[in-house]
């Protein structure tokens, strides 16, 4: 996509800081850590994040950090294309937008015009919003959908704060999804059966080709195993399944590695789902990443969601489920299609 000889600034070489949170404790902590970065004061994060004609892919080569105050809602109902694992009140929280990882197929590339990362430093406001919601009903909340909180833990400490918040609110169950290798967080927080750590797994060849900067399969499994040994509920997400010519062999090998490196019987559950993405997002992805086979795949448009051809999607999902059923209880396997246990 770009010349190898171009040299980019280091990640977070430029930090944009909203005037409203310049003196926030987290802002000061982050800025102290990046003493060599150029700090640019801004009035509102959208002045930077929402500029027209940004190039997401190029910006990933030298991501800027934007520290902002979230003044609107930060808790949203879960999207229909996402797995709710049988919970009635499924929401997701958006305290950080974008991710330091660079997955080729990531929906964030279709959702946002910018590849830069926004951290809403006022997480306490999100907690207040959530407490109001908890007064109405129990909540199942995915806190790491718009980012990878574990990967950004040393920067923000948000995963720890979410885990502690969930521990002290009995009607709240959270899921922290990640592709990180980091295990240190499990030393810092107390286990809680309502704090689910979810590891997205892919075969190594998919990781290498399409999930840049993320942990290897083995590293993810080691981290997941560590979480489980510390007493946390762990979920494995075989979602999204990404098609490749030898998908059957690749996913068989992945599951074999998983079985060798983690006690599958002790998992809370697993999810299975082939790649799917809203039509508007794939349009942008295809325009921005013309050389990506995952983006350019000739998907079928099913009610505004682009999916693999039905036969292929079924074949891939059912194959993986058939392998999983040999290793664990059927009740623990969630397939995305109809949100019912397979």
């Amino acid at each position: 996509m770009r010349s190898e000889n171009s040299s980019f600034n280091f990640p977070f070489s430029h930090i944009y800081v909203e005037d409203a949170i310049r003196d926030h404790e987290l802002t000061r902590r982050i800025l102290a850590r990046f003493s060599k970065s150029v700090v640019i004061p801004i009035n509102h994060y959208k002045d930077v994040f929402n500029r027209s004609r940004q190039n997401f892919g190029i910006q990933k080569s030298s991501q800027a950090l934007i520290l902002a105050k979230n003044t609107g809602a930060s808790i949203f109902p879960g999207a229909p294309v996402c797995q709710d694992f049988g919970y009635d009140h499924f929401y997701y929280a958006s305290s950080i937008r974008n991710c330091i990882f660079d997955c080729e197929y990531c929906f964030l590339k279709g959702m946002y015009g910018s590849g830069n990362i926004v951290v809403f430093v006022n997480l306490e406001n999100t907690f207040s919003e959530l407490e109001a919601l908890l007064k109405k009903h129990p909540v199942y909340l995915c806190v790491s959908y718009d980012t990878d909180l574990i990967a950004l833990e040393s920067l923000t400490g948000f995963a720890t704060r979410w885990a502690e918040f969930a521990r002290s609110h009995k009607d709240l169950t959270i899921e922290i999804r990640t592709k990180s290798f980091r295990k240190d967080i499990y030393e810092k927080i107390e286990p809680c059966d309502r704090v689910i750590f979810a590891y997205t797994l892919s075969p190594d060849e998919i990781i290498e080709k399409h999930e840049k900067k993320t942990a290897t399969l083995k590293e993810r499994l080691e981290a997941a195993s560590c979480a489980m040994n510390k007493g946390f509920p762990v979920r494995l997400c075989f979602d999204p399944i990404i098609y490749c010519k030898n998908w059957k062999a690749a996913y068989f090998s992945m599951l074999k590695t998983a079985n060798e490196n983690i006690d599958i019987h002790r998992l809370k559950d697993v999810s299975v789902g082939s790649f799917r993405i809203p039509a508007d997002y794939i349009k942008k992805l295809r325009k921005d990443f013309p050389d990506s086979p995952v983006c350019q795949f000739p998907y079928e448009n099913r009610n505004g969601v682009f999916c693999y051809p039905e036969k292929l999607a079924d074949e891939m999902e059912e194959y993986l489920i058939s392998l999983l059923e040999r290793l664990m209880d059927k009740e623990k396997i969630f397939r995305i299609e109809n949100s019912e246990n397979s």
Partner: protein, 277 residues
């Protein structure tokens, strides 16, 4: 290709000389200079944000700016307290209060522009008599140039290089055309170094064989919708490293491309898809 917008000829003169630019002999709304190999084009905009915006629009549209390969650079003088050449990371339009942010992706420290050279700049529509914010630079064009450019190009494809000519006070009338040219000349090696560095930053765009796409669409009697599907198959083949011509040649050898209706064409389209996946 590099597109330069300079407010005054006096500022541009050393650059025109260093890059051996020739004046466009045709009648142009702005004095325009270009290099023999057409890798650089430069326009003299005149002073003020509107003049800067108008010249930018003229330049980008006349020469067909390519957003994946070209750069727009505003080079010129400004008022400020810190001498030297500066890379601008924030532009505030003094009239409207709006702010603009060019992307700061490229490490230009090896060109003589370390991060410490970066500054915020305020664009004012008149000559300033003092620096309201001493930490900022003041010019008369940048916000107009950025706004006009943002309709065409990405924020990482525009750079503002500003050299300090004065501190906003010119009681003794020392800021002459000669002085602006002399000061500009001091920074030309840095500008040339930036050009050398950025020349490497081309985002190559993969392309598909449009001729083959059209001829196949016609042969298969495809409707607009199915033609779009075929284009997507071409894109996927390109991205996944599959030679679609080989697939089409094989189908042709079997006589399958010789169809007489849309319906038959769709069957062949499905066959191409099947072979690709």
């Amino acid at each position: 290709m590099f597109y330069f917008v300079c407010a005054l000829y006096a500022e541009a003169k050393p650059l025109i000389s260093a890059l051996s630019l020739r004046k466009d002999a045709f009648s142009c709304p702005y004095d325009t200079y270009f290099s023999e190999d057409s890798s650089v084009v430069l326009a003299i905009s005149g002073t003020g944000p509107i003049a800067g915006a108008a010249a930018t629009s003229y330049l980008l549209t006349r020469f067909g700016f390519r957003n994946h390969a070209d750069f727009l650079i505003n080079f010129g003088s400004c008022a400020g307290n810190e001498p030297g050449l500066h890379l601008i990371n924030k532009i505030t339009d003094d009239t409207t209060g709006r702010t603009f942010y060019p992307d700061m992706l490229y490490d230009l420290s090896s060109c003589g522009l370390p991060s410490s050279s970066e500054k915020a700049l305020v664009t004012v529509p008149r000559v300033v008599s003092s620096l309201e914010d001493p930490s900022c630079l003041y010019d008369m064009e940048a916000s107009g140039i950025y706004q006009a450019a943002s309709h065409v190009l990405s924020p990482h494809r525009v750079l503002f290089l500003k050299y300090v000519s004065d501190s906003g006070v010119d009681a003794e009338k020392t800021i002459t055309a000669e002085k602006l040219t002399e000061d500009s000349g001091k920074h030309i090696p840095t500008v040339l170094s930036v050009l050398e560095k950025l020349a490497e930053a081309c985002e190559e765009k993969p392309f598909i064989d449009e001729e083959l796409l059209v001829s196949t669409s016609l042969a298969l009697h495809l409707s607009d919708t199915l033609r779009h599907e075929l284009r997507q198959l071409f894109m996927y083949a390109q991205a996944s490293g599959t030679n679609i011509k080989e697939i089409l040649d094989a189908l042709d050898a079997e006589g399958k491309l010789d169809v007489s209706s849309k319906r038959e064409g769709k069957v062949v389209l499905d066959e191409i898809r099947k072979q690709l996946i």
